[in-house]
């Protein structure tokens, strides 16, 4: 691989604690600032008026969801710094300029493929910790469609949830593990899932509100050029 190809990096990061409460845009700003502090040679979008660093998140993270391994792709401007940029060292530096509750857990060079990172995301795995959450899940999802109302910008739509869930592990009553659709098609919103568990599964509203939500991983399609 020659140097000209070493200009895209796929990072996986985790977030817990206070940063789990950030909205997606805040998370993007947090990363670009941490990378500036760590002196990463970010590539910038063209355009005189509002150039932006080339940082692409695989899947926006909702407010209040912890992450264990979420992908983010970084474009580098290695025109002047090809020799100076050592990924391992750069990640070490980045982990010292990120708030303690955010950590890069994995990093590798990647090659540009036909589709953007966001459009290649197709599923995610979640861990939901709340008293009796698995029983509530079993009671709610019996194979029949589960319809939930979703209010967005004062518009109410009805969303079906069963078809968005690929697998679930209910062996621990207080910890539900699910694999579900994510990204631009068939995306499952965890807040809607909790809503259904309260309505149909008997999960207490307080239990749902206080549930620990952890996205364990995001699954990405590998698409050739």
């Amino acid at each position: 691989m020659n140097n000209t190809q070493l200009n895209r990096v796929l990072l996986y990061y985790a977030r817990t604690g206070s940063t789990a409460w950030l909205a997606h845009l805040d998370m993007m700003r947090l990363f670009s600032r941490a990378m500036n502090r760590a002196a990463w040679p970010l590539a910038w979008s063209e355009g005189a008026f509002n150039p932006r660093p080339d940082i692409v998140f695989g899947l926006p993270a909702g407010c209040g969801i912890e992450l264990e391994r979420d992908p983010v792709e970084i474009g580098l401007d290695v025109s002047n710094e090809a020799l100076a940029f050592d990924l391992e060292d750069a990640v070490r530096r980045l982990n010292t300029t990120l708030p303690e509750s955010v950590r890069v857990v994995d990093a590798a060079y990647t090659e540009p493929v036909g589709k953007s990172l966001m459009s290649r995301v197709f599923a995610a795995t979640y861990r939901i910790e709340a008293l009796g959450v698995s029983s509530a899940y079993t009671k709610t999802f019996t194979g029949a469609p589960v319809m939930v109302e979703h209010v967005r910008k004062k518009k109410t739509t009805t969303v079906e949830l069963t078809s968005k869930i690929m697998d679930a592990d209910v062996s621990d009553d207080n910890t539900l593990l699910i694999v579900c659709g994510a990204g631009s098609v068939n995306h499952l919103r965890i807040d809607l899932l909790l809503k259904a568990l309260v309505r149909d599964g008997g999960l207490s509203p307080e239990g749902a509100a206080g549930a620990r939500l952890v996205r364990e991983s995001v699954l990405i399609n590998t698409v050739s050029r």
């Binding site: 940063t19 409460w21 670009s32 600032r33 502090r37 509750s101 206080g210 620990r212």
Partner: protein, 638 residues
Amino acid sequence: MTSWSSLSEAKQRALLRRVEKPARYSGGEWQACDKWDVFFHLQEEDRIRFAFCFPDLYEIGMSNLALQILYATLNADEHTWCERFFEPAPDMREQLIKEDIALSSLESGTPLYAFDIVGMSISYELAYTTVLDMLHLGKIPLRSVDRGERDPLVVAGGPVACNLEPMAPFFDLVMIGDGEQLLSDITALYRKKKQNRMTKRDFLFEACRLEGIYVPAFYDVTYCPDGTIDTIEPNVPQAPRVIQKSVIRDLNNAKMPLAPIVPHLNVVHDRMVMEIFRGCARGCRFCQAGFTYRPMRERSFDRLSDAARSLFQKTGCDELGLLSLSTTDYSQLSELLEALIPRAEKNHVNLSLPSLRLDAFERDMAEQVATTRRAGLTFAPEAGTQRLRDVINKNIVEEDLLQATEVALRNGWDRLKLYYMLGLPTETDDDVDGIGYMVNRLIARWREIPDQLRPRRFFINVSTSIFIPKPFTPFQWAEQISPDEMRDRQQRVASALGRNRRVNYQWHQFESSVLEAVLARGDRRLANVIEQAWMQGCVLDAWHEHFRWDVWETLLSEMPGGISFYTRKRPLHEKFPWDHIQIGVQRIFLEREWRRAMEGKTTPACFEQCSHCGVGKYGSGVCLQPPRAATEKGFGHE
């Protein structure tokens, strides 16, 4: 009663999920100070827990430079841990009350009542009810007399500290002047109090001897039959008759926040900031900060250049604001920009220069600033005619505005924001109409520029606010115009600007300006009104969606003399509620300036010619420097 840190994680999550923008409350920002592991190794009497309270929402407070300066200063001391508190938004406030959770710090979740010192940083009068709300949410008795030895010491500072009389019963002490030294002195003295087991009163006896410390309870105020102040006298021998403000003589020795907290949220001013100088040399007669922060003291070029380097490295932000009351007056601005611009470009950082004087916005500077990412351009002519600009000592002429606009247009700006004030002393209909006339002249100037050298479109945003007479300004004797006049003048501006698609006119609800005027020149008798207003639900009064004029109007009308007692013109001999405070500028100078205003005479800037205002006694800043050459257009409209 419980605190945030004692809640279970599930409970914390449940609360945060019920509110908008939970990141306002979750803390953990980059470079927030966490001393948890080291601080508690110190003996209890050897450590000071300081609660820095900003009585507004997180996004406003975290945009405040004073917060960053004082947070860095306090936390640089190993014996002090300064933590932050902001007023919660109404949704979170409701949750805290419902669940009986005390307002707690962002850093460690410790409740406000558990701190040694609670410091309120007050930037505007409309924050007064929010101060009370924060104390209440923090489970601290509101009034100083109701607080015992185990309650925190409640102190205040900030731009309005020069007349905090309406809030006098709520504070144990008020800090007047530059906060950096004052806070260090107070925390050191408080440590001594803890070590020697002094009573609060004995502590206050010692504190009131320090420069800049005012203990309101040590003064009695008496009133004349007409309601004006008769006497303000100390009631203990330890208290000085006059309280002198604290001044940092050399700003280069003061702490700069080189590794400030970087908020996660998109706050109002989401950028790194450098205070390039403090104070102002101009003497605009309506401007309180311009007089109370005198003398103008610059930070050195080297200090600023180093600071910028550190800020770039330690924050990673994409905008750097060069802050002051009048940025173009910095003596080495051109050199500073020359040094900063290449570094800013390399780091994709936008330089922002608020508070530009339009008589100094020249071609070179426009070209320099235009090379970084271009922010909007705002000028403040303040008044519509030359006559009135001379009255307020703005020291700019119409041609300055025309030229500055032309320079901006030729350098690619196509939007301009203009600030004006309505209700200034001696204002007539002609002055109000002058705003519309000026705006039309600017549009005409845009048309005169050849097509290829000007932007295709041009928009002007005109914004007016209502003049508020403030203490320690030459206009402290002036009246505030009546609400009817305010409404008429706003409408007059609107009709003078007409239905021009290039012009957008913004004005503010004037009722909050009336309240601000009452509180700004208010006395101790207003404390009951403020407390009553808060009890009736007034909080976050600076937010127009939360402002309850009906409540305030009723309460103020029940005062003897009503609202007009506080907004009226004051005779020259009248004793003010703030006469026992000495901020450097002498009353006799302000009186002279008031007379000159009435005669339409201007006064030169400090760096052109000394006007003997009184701050020369500090032997600092511009007062020590030889006069700069007077600009041709600087003064001389007498």
